[in-house]
């Protein structure tokens, strides 16, 4: 069955091609069938291959389609490599992708760009699948840039709004900065290994470099540059909140569940290099820790429901980076999967709320939707509980708890990482339930339009179930000790080394995390339900901080001053090309000389005679001097 692997990316690609070539001439039903059907089939094939794979997660499957380029030893191929890690990713991409396609059929039904939307979405799924299946870094780069293109197209999907286009452009350019770093990393890798085949590099690297090697560190940092761009981590995180200009299903699929975790995938995939470069790996952890805090605090102050979720995504990916930084590879991937379920759920839920409220994004204008939209409410509540890591019942608890624990007890963990993760958990539960209380509780402020149909509710319910039970495949030592997930990815991602003497405190940490989560919910309840007056006071007393957090810690303004404005200034000042002034100078100089000599041709005989005499004297004297 694994021979069908190529079909998994090929089917969505075929869907995209059909939708692009027919250019909107297909009926809506047919477009939906092609768009969602192709991804559905891909998901089906993934499941079939997956069932076979579970029996023996240690094996790998390799499929070469054709040689892409072959010059002088540089020989990237169109070839796929399936192992436990890529298996997890293609499962999430096709399965969650399919649910979001279903949802989009209803969500986008009245949009005039219906088939264009599915064309982009299919193209995205294809690119993302290529990214995770690629057996070499050049093909991965193709997928990597391909998802960037689709992200650009989908953020700017409603092109009539000029600002959507700008948001899309911002996303593309900022991620391209990271991509360029990554490309340079590839050049270095090729120089050292003479190949960009991932498996070859991973086997050769430990033989070539010693731990702490400078080259390994440089390469790891360059790859990290690519990862922070795509995954919206510090310092390239600023594009993601603006990316919410796209339709909600896009935010769910691309800017929460899949594409933004590409950086996590890249680091996990090349973990051997990061293990050889402890400094770089530590930076992964530091970036994760700082990002998760910064984004968490920013999420506390947003009005726009989708922006809260965007900052929350940045923050949660920060957790994944933190996990990668302490070498907890499988925990990062586990959190990726669970996050994909609950964050897709939350974005789809938010999209449904926004849709029924006639495109109202401001949470302070919502409220009281609990009884009006019971299905959306319950599923959104489950997703929020999972995001806030409500103890014991939600999947988010198990995936995040692992990261907290390993940030402390892992060999590369430390107190700072642990504290950051802990504070982050507290903040997460505050902003999550702030969002829940504002949106669903209190009085109704905006009239509810039409109600959501089955195509919207079914994906929500499926994802809600997964956000609850998905965690039970990986339980900590203290609570049942199940290791289905980490056992599955173990052939690819080694288990984390523990710090000696730290094993005993696991239950204390779990208890602390659980308490903080509940405390956070209570804080949200206290300020947003019980004593809103206190909240307003608090807000006005720290308005500067509030604004600072609201603006995402001023990064946009900083980059504007440092990069955008100087570039635009330089470019517009030199619009007429200073170099051309030199040539113009030559031309006008020649013109002046011409004018001077032209005056000597004045038709006056005595001037000519004088000229001849002076010239003769001049020539004669020169002659005399020389002889």
């Amino acid at each position: 069955m694994e021979a069908l692997l190529w079909l998994i990316p090929a089917l969505p690609l075929a869907g995209a091609v059909i939708l692009i070539v027919t250019a909107g001439k297909l009926s809506r039903n047919l477009s939906a069938l092609v768009g969602a059907g192709s991804v559905g089939l891909a998901a089906l094939i993934t499941l079939i291959i997956g069932f076979g794979f579970i029996a023996d997660p240690a094996h790998t499957f390799h499929q070469t389609l054709w040689t892409w380029i072959n010059v002088d030893g540089f020989k990237p191929t169109f070839a796929f490599h399936l192992d436990a890690l890529s298996m997890v990713f293609i499962f999430v991409i096709t399965f969650v992708g399919f649910l979001i396609h279903l949802y989009s059929i209803e969500f986008m039904h009245d949009d005039e760009g219906f088939s264009r939307f599915f064309a982009y979405l299919n193209l995205f799924v294809c690119s993302m699948l290529i990214l995770v299946l690629a057996d070499n870094l050049v093909l991965m780069y193709l997928g990597w840039e391909g998802v960037g293109l689709c992200s650009y197209l989908l953020i700017g999907f409603w092109y009539q709004e000029e600002k959507n286009g700008y948001a899309a452009r911002k996303a593309f350019i900022i991620t391209r900065v990271g991509d360029t770093a990554m490309a340079i990393g590839l050049f270095m890798l090729f120089q050292h290994f003479g190949t960009l085949n991932i498996q070859n590099i991973l086997t050769q690297a430990p033989q070539t470099w010693t731990i702490g090697s400078e080259t390994a560190t440089a390469i790891a940092l360059l790859l990290l540059g690519g990862a922070v761009g795509k995954s919206a981590q510090l310092p390239l995180q600023t594009w993601l909140p603006d990316a919410m200009a796209g339709p909600s299903p896009v935010s769910a699929l691309i800017h929460a569940a899949t594409m933004v975790t590409a950086g996590v995938y890249l680091i996990a995939r090349t973990h051997v290099i990061f293990e050889l470069a402890p400094v770089a790996q530590q930076w992964v952890g530091i970036i994760g820790a700082v990002t998760l805090l910064i984004a968490g605090f920013s999420a506390l102050t947003q009005f726009d429901l989708k922006r809260v979720l965007a900052y929350s995504t940045i923050s949660q990916i920060g957790y994944m980076f933190l996990a990668l930084g302490v070498g907890a590879w499988s925990s990062a991937i586990f959190h990726f999967m669970i996050h994909a379920f609950f964050k897709a759920l939350l974005f789809l839920g938010a999209g449904a709320v926004i849709l029924v409220l006639h495109h109202e994004h401001d949470m302070f204008k919502m409220g009281g939707l609990k009884n009006r939209l019971p299905v959306i409410y319950w599923t959104f509540l489950i997703g929020s509980a999972s995001l806030a890591a409500l103890p014991f019942v939600t999947a988010g608890f198990y995936s995040k708890d692992q990261i907290l624990w390993l940030a402390w007890a892992g060999e590369k963990g430390n107190l700072w990482f642990f504290l950051a993760a802990l504070i982050g958990a507290f903040v997460t539960s505050i902003y999550t339930f702030r969002m829940v209380f504002l949106t669903f509780f209190g009085e109704e402020k905006t009239h509810v339009g039409h109600h959501a149909g089955k195509l919207i509710t079914i994906p929500l319910i499926v994802l809600a179930v997964l956000s609850l039970v998905g965690g039970f495949i990986e339980l900590p030592h203290t609570l049942g000790h199940v290791e289905l997930f980490s056992g599955f990815v173990k052939p690819v991602l080694p288990a984390v080394e523990m710090r000696p003497g730290a094993e005993s405190g696991e239950w204390i940490i779990q208890l602390t995390a659980a308490t903080l989560c509940l405390a956070g919910i209570y804080v949200a309840y206290y300020f947003y339900m019980k004593r809103p007056d206190l909240r307003r006071e608090l807000k006005s007393s720290m308005i500067v901080t509030n604004r600072f957090w609201f603006s995402g810690w001023g990064f946009d303004a900083l980059y504007d001053t440092l990069f955008v404005k100087p570039f635009v200034y330089l470019s517009t000042r030199n619009k007429d090309d200073a170099v051309d002034r030199i040539y113009e100078g030559i031309v006008s100089g020649l013109n002046r000389v011409h004018n001077v000599f032209a005056q000597t041709q004045n038709g006056v005989m005595r001037w000519y005679i004088m000229g001849i005499v002076i010239g003769a004297i001049f020539v004669l004297s020169i002659g005399l001097i020389l002889t």
Binding site: Y159, Q160, I184
Partner: protein, 513 residues
């Protein structure tokens, strides 16, 4: 024999088109279409028939043609075709065909003479890519210059006379330096061996003193870097490109610039390997300056064609960077860049032309929101904007990636700087999309989506750019023998450098060994 036919068909077609227009209006374009189509088909057949590089007497030449011309001066009509020239001929006839199609309705005035000039430019370019006699090379170099001058000067836009003069003076002045260098080489070779000849093959092994080699190389270099163009010799280009008629811009960007790149590979490096290696770091530096300078200037242009012209400056910087990196990877990248840039930039110029036909302006600030009215055009623009920013899956990525991975071996710093140019490329490419196709609709008058003829022009370009992005290997294989041959020769000859200096080249391009 087929080689001379390529040129005869174009030149003859040009004269016939001129005459035919007197018989019946509109006939000239059919004649031109037929001439370019025949050549394109012939070249394609030649390509398909030479998969394993059918070579002439063990060399990399696929086909040759020699006839006496002025034997007393050692001038012969010497044509030869190898993989590199074959690829460039394919590009020439492909873009030539499209140039005729884009002119179909645009040119309404003195059509006969127009198509005569168009075909003669193409003939000159064909000659440049084929000839292996330096005298003849200079002859064709001029043949492509003068008709182009008329194309800009007669059928151009509002500031056409200025642009035509500027183009002519820049190209002619630098061309004269090349002529001097050709004559210098001719006399040195003649006095060394007693054989006064302009034949490329004979002149290849000319023993030169260090100074002579440097000077002569600079003469050739002058012509090629003005044509390419390299900053700061680029200022003719934005004017010429923006003022030329659409087909003129297409040929300028797609083909004329490539003659500069071709000259570097065909003449500068093989004739003066040592001197070329000496200036390599500087040449690469100027390449990088071009990449960045072009990208920054492209960003702020408001004239669509001027914007695309500056992107050409930026993209041709990669050629300069790659050629002087002296290794097979970078050179394959350069060849790829010549072809893909020809197609992608050509497409953007045609796009500017189709927009101009509809709204009579090239000012992108007066455009906006055109996606709604012209979705087909938007998709085409998107594809070529993406090509221009180097999106993988499209041909330009292969070109730039190979160039950069090759130049990394020669200079890391410059490669990093060049890679930063990719971010600049993203900024200006997306600006095209943003200003023209996003936002509220600026003007609805006269906005009709692509006509069938226009689709017929763009469709092959799209197919080619995707094909080159996904299956570039046939092109790489075709160019391979020429490139490795030149590189090996350069390395061998640098092993025994002229005069006293130590070889520089052998330290470079280590992966080639």
């Amino acid at each position: 024999m087929i080689l001379i036919w390529f040129i005869i068909i174009l030149m003859g077609g040009g004269i016939l088109a001129w005459i035919a227009e007197q018989w019946q209006a509109g006939l000239s374009r059919w004649v031109s279409l037929a001439a370019t189509l025949i050549n394109f088909v012939l070249a394609t057949v030649l390509w398909i028939q030479s998969p394993g590089q059918v070579t002439v007497a063990g060399s990399s030449w696929i086909s040759t043609f020699t006839a006496q011309w002025i034997p007393s001066f050692g001038v012969s009509f010497n044509l030869a075709l190898d993989g590199l020239s074959l690829l460039l001929l394919l590009l020439t006839f492909f873009l030539g065909l499209l140039a005729v199609l884009t002119s179909w309705n645009e040119i309404q005035y003195r059509c006969g003479f127009y198509y005569f000039n168009l075909l003669w430019v193409l003939a000159g370019i064909t000659g440049v890519f084929l000839t292996m006699d330096l005298f003849l090379f200079y002859f064709f170099w001029e043949v492509m210059l003068i008709p182009m001058y008329f194309l800009i000067g007669i059928w151009g836009h509002e500031n056409k006379t200025y642009a035509a003069y500027k183009f002519f003076i820049f190209t002619q002045a630098s061309g004269l330096l090349m002529l001097l260098a050709i004559l210098g080489l001719y006399f040195i070779h003649g006095s060394n061996t007693g054989n006064y000849t302009f034949s490329y093959f004979d002149l290849l092994g000319t023993a030169l003193t260090l100074e002579a080699s440097r000077l002569l190389m600079l003469g050739f270099l002058a012509a090629f870097i003005v044509k390419l163009p390299v900053v700061p010799f680029h200022t003719w280009l934005p004017d010429a490109h923006s003022q030329a008629p659409t087909a003129g811009s297409l040929i300028l960007a797609g083909l004329l610039l490539k003659t500069g790149a071709y000259g570097l590979i065909r003449f500068v490096v093989p004739l003066f390997p040592h001197s070329a290696a000496e200036i390599a770091p500087w040449a690469m530096l100027f390449g990088v300056i071009g990449i960045l300078y072009g990208a920054v200037l492209a960003f702020s242009q408001t004239d669509f064609k001027r914007l695309v012209a500056y992107t050409s400056v930026s993209h041709m910087g990669f050629v300069m960077l790659g050629v002087f990196a002296f290794n097979a990877l970078a050179w394959q990248g350069v060849v790829m860049q010549m072809i893909t840039h020809g197609v992608s930039t050509g497409a953007l110029f045609i796009l500017a032309g189709t927009l101009y036909e509809r709204i009579h302006t090239r000012d992108i600030l007066r455009m906006g929101g055109f996606w709604a009215k012209m979705p087909y055009m938007a998709v085409i623009a998107l594809i070529f904007a993406m090509a221009s920013l180097g999106l993988p899956g499209l041909g330009n990525f292969v070109a730039e990636f190979l160039t950069l991975i090759g130049s990394w071996h020669a200079s890391r710093v410059l490669t990093v700087l060049a890679a930063i140019g990719l971010v600049g490329a993203t900024a200006y490419s997306l600006r095209i999309m943003q200003k023209i196709f996003y936002g509220g609709i600026a003007e609805t008058h006269g906005l009709t989506d692509l006509s069938r003829r226009e689709k017929l022009i763009f469709l092959p370009m799209v197919i080619v750019i995707i094909w080159l992005g996904v299956f570039p290997q046939p092109v790489i294989d075709t160019a391979k023998q020429t490139l490795t041959g030149v590189l090996e020769q350069a390395h061998v000859r640098n092993a025994s450098p002229p005069a006293t200096e130590k070889p520089i080249l052998s330290a470079k391009g280590g992966i080639h060994e």
